[in-house]
């Protein structure tokens, strides 16, 4: 029930300031050979957190770049062994036993999955420990290994059942996380049952099973015209994935409680798909336009004659001023494309998506919230750098 005492969420994210922030931080990241990325992530989080304002009061992100760098350095010390030595051994075995690199990639990938879940949980714990609202810290209890093996079991089961048990994995893993989540001294609880997620899941499950059946029938020597059905079922499956992700968030949010505090969420699948479709189009076209302009400028600058057909060879074989200028300009252009796309993606996709989820969220239970007391600081500084080292959460 929506009542007068419920706290609606405002969203204060704006394109221009965010664009400037991403652009400036990206340039610094390139200039520092990637090391500024820890501060860039910190600043982006500060911006996004402060943009989300439940009850007109901004969230605050208090993480620091230096602690992310520390975590990253610690991770490098240990992961370098794992990645270097294990990769080498895997490549060796894969070539000596199976004559191809495929097995090495596969094993390397499978070997890293438990670590990925482990790192995700820890990253979440770090992020929540650095998130405040109304001056009160959030928190997540330790439990990364427990999460990791549960996640492995749930996802194995989901894959073995061809995706049928995906909602079960979604629910139990979300419950594991939620039941360990705190706002100050207030503990969250994930209510509901895993079967409640099947309502939105139908839009994935039905076209997915039909698609599989059609392909299986065609492979088994059935009528190939059956494959025409895929024209219908594949787009429907893709829609179904979006629908499930958006609506499972809504259902799970509304089934969360914390001693009388409740949540109302109303994100719309169509809106999210629209943001992605429009946002990606805008991000690509803006970047392309920029590349075109830069290309024309470069072309004018070096006026045909200097344009090498093989940049790298040219770079080293012609130690001329023009050659070096050309090489420098090309390297700058190369990074500029990445930076521009990253910035456009943030303002056209990430920002509106977060905005939609924020603006459709309402928190009920004002009186109980006022009684919440502070929790102790969870140091746990190195967690996020570990996730960074595994290249998780690339955006923010």
């Amino acid at each position: 029930m929506i009542s007068l005492s419920d706290l609606d969420t405002e969203y204060a994210g704006r394109k221009a300031p965010l664009f400037r922030l991403v652009l400036g931080a990206s340039v610094l990241t390139v200039l520092t050979l990637g090391f500024y990325r820890f501060w860039m992530k910190t600043r982006l989080r500060r911006y996004y957190w402060s943009a989300i304002r439940p009850g007109g009061l901004s969230l605050e992100y208090v993480g620091r770049g230096s602690e992310k760098l520390l975590g990253f350095l610690i991770a490098v010390v240990f992961l370098a062994f794992y990645i270097g030595i294990v990769n080498l051994i895997l490549v060796f075995f894969s070539f000596s036993v199976l004559d191809g690199p495929g097995a090495a990639y596969a094993m390397s990938f499978v070997g890293i999955i438990p670590l990925v879940f482990f790192a995700r949980y820890r990253a979440r714990r770090y992020i929540l420990a650095r998130t405040r609202w109304r001056g009160i810290r959030m928190g997540l209890e330790p439990g990364a290994w427990g999460y990791s093996w549960r996640a492995m079991m749930h996802w194995t089961l989901a894959i073995l059942t061809l995706g049928v048990l995906w909602p079960r994995a979604t629910f139990w893993l979300e419950k594991y996380r939620t039941d360990r989540t705190w706002f100050g001294d207030l503990r969250l609880t994930q209510g509901g049952r895993w079967t409640m997620l099947y309502r939105p899941f139908r839009h994935f499950l039905v076209p997915w099973i039909v698609s599989l059946a059609v392909v299986a029938a065609a492979l088994a020597g059935g009528d190939l015209r059956l494959l025409l059905l895929l024209v219908l079922t594949v787009p429907w499956t893709i829609f179904g994935i979006f629908h499930y992700l958006v609506q499972s968030f809504r259902i799970l949010a509304e089934a969360k409680t914390a001693d009388g505090v409740e949540f109302k969420a109303a994100p719309r699948t169509g809106r999210i798909i629209g943001i992605y479709a429009l946002g990606l189009t805008l991000a690509y076209s803006s970047t392309t336009a920029l590349v075109a302009v830069a290309g024309v400028l470069l072309f004018a600058l070096f006026n045909l004659s200097g344009l090498p057909h093989d940049l790298l060879t040219e770079m080293f074989s012609r130690v001329t001023v023009a050659g070096w200028l050309m090489a420098a300009a090309s390297i700058v252009a190369y990074f500029a494309i990445f930076i521009a796309y990253g910035a456009f993606y943030q303002i056209f996709v990430t920002m509106p998506v977060i905005g939609h989820y924020a603006e459709t969220l309402t928190i009920g239970g004002r009186a109980r919230l006022n009684k919440v007391r502070q929790r102790r600081r969870d140091e746990f500084a190195e967690a996020d750098g570990f996730a960074e080292a595994l290249d998780l959460g690339a955006a923010i």
Binding site: V30, R46, A51, V76, N87
Partner: protein, 382 residues
């Protein structure tokens, strides 16, 4: 109900703001004014309890905030308490009067950071510089021939892709039938009686570099730029014999295994912010194949034996080096990416190759006939 006056001197301030004490989630509506006697502190009056002061020089505004019409203040000596001011005139006045508002918090734990930084550098150096080469050398001996061949196939494709124009197709493999036949002939002459665990695969890539390199599993790869620069087929044969030396010693297999280990570690370090730039770098390194001096010398000695056995003069290698040196005076300073000319001991190698030919008669059958040599030079144009 709120009023801030920035015109008067001294400035006055009398507004209400939201205060969070960092103990309870309760929003306290507090009265904020400049402390009576001085203007060096904010006086904050909570609805119940006594008023307290926040010195202006300890006020810090939260950075990177999205909500522009409010100012969230903290204290440099209190990580928790927050004061949120929404009155525009008060915000303007505070921004003007507090020069330390955007001062940064000092970096804490710098010692730990430096310690772990040194640890990370040491760990990576140890792994890339010592552990991986050591293991790669051992594993290269253990890799069965079929595995080596498969590794070579994969590496060859990677090199072609990486050295092709950025974003465009891979480098073209030249296979003009007449040129290929000439190459086959040269290969047969050099490998006569040689027992290799896998068949030799000789490939020509279209490209300007005066370069050739060996890959795992018996690959020898030429750029057709080398044919253009060489003065005689004997020089090409000498290069082939040299690369054959690397193949027999399994040098490229070591390098490939080494980069398989290193690539992940480097990717970890730089976070791949350049979108695959690291892969390009490593492919480049693979082609350059910085073998050790000992490996180069061994390959040279192998080449001399092979060349002599095939009735060719080892000093053809010296002739090619000299040509390169003449064309690129700066070559020894590292001005050109060429496996041969970038080698530091180029002068020594010229001398060694000439010494190895001492006493051999000059009148020997050339590596290829004139027609075959022309076909080889045109292998990419057939």
């Amino acid at each position: 109900m709120s009023r801030a006056d920035s015109q008067d001197n001294p400035p006055t301030l009398s507004i209400f703001a939201d205060y969070f004490d960092g103990v309870s989630a309760r929003v306290q509506r507090v009265a904020v004014s400049l402390a009576g006697d001085q203007t060096a502190a904010l006086e904050i009056g909570p609805p119940e309890g006594e008023a307290f002061e926040w010195p202006l020089d300890r006020l810090r505004a939260l950075p990177d905030q999205a909500h522009k019409s409010s100012l969230t203040l903290g204290r440099s000596d209190d990580p928790l308490a927050r004061l949120v001011i929404t009155d525009p005139a008060a915000i303007a006045m505070l921004r003007r009067r507090c020069s330390t508002l955007s001062a940064r918090a000092p970096v804490t734990g710098l010692g730990r950071l430096i310690g772990w930084g040194a640890g990370a550098v040491a760990s990576v150096a140890l792994i890339i510089g010592v552990l991986i080469p050591l293991m790669a050398n051992q594993l290269a001996q253990l890799l069965p021939p079929e595995g080596e061949k498969a590794l070579g196939d994969a590496t060859f494709e990677q090199v072609r892709q990486a050295l092709g124009q950025q974003g465009a197709a891979a480098l073209r493999v030249c296979d003009g039938p007449k040129g290929a036949a000439a190459l086959k002939l040269m290969q047969a002459r050099l490998t006569d009686g040689l027992d290799l665990p896998y068949p030799l695969t000789v490939r020509v890539l279209q490209g300007e570099p005066v370069n050739a390199f060996a890959l795992p599993g018996g690959y020898i790869v030429f750029f057709d730029g080398l044919f253009a620069a060489a003065n005689s087929p004997d020089e090409v044969a000498a290069v082939m014999a040299h690369e054959l030396g690397h193949v027999v010693a399994r040098d490229p297999t070591r390098i490939a295994l080494r980069s398989a280990g290193s690539i992940g570690v480097l990717g970890l370090l730089f976070g791949d912010f350049a979108g695959g730039g690291i892969a390009l770098l490593l492919a480049e390194r693979l082609v350059q194949a910085n073998y050790t001096q000992a490996a180069e010398a061994a390959a040279d000695r192998f080449a001399y034996d092979r060349l002599r056995g095939a009735g060719l003069r080892p000093d053809a290698l010296a002739a090619l080096f000299k040509t390169l040196k003449a064309q690129n005076p700066g070559a020894e300073a590292g001005g050109i990416v060429s496996h041969f000319s970038s080698h530091p001991a180029l002068g020594d190698r010229i001398a060694a190759a000439e010494a190895a030919s001492a006493g051999l008669s000059a009148a020997r059958q050339p590596a290829l006939t004139k027609a075959q040599w022309r076909a080889l030079k045109g292998i990419c144009r057939e």
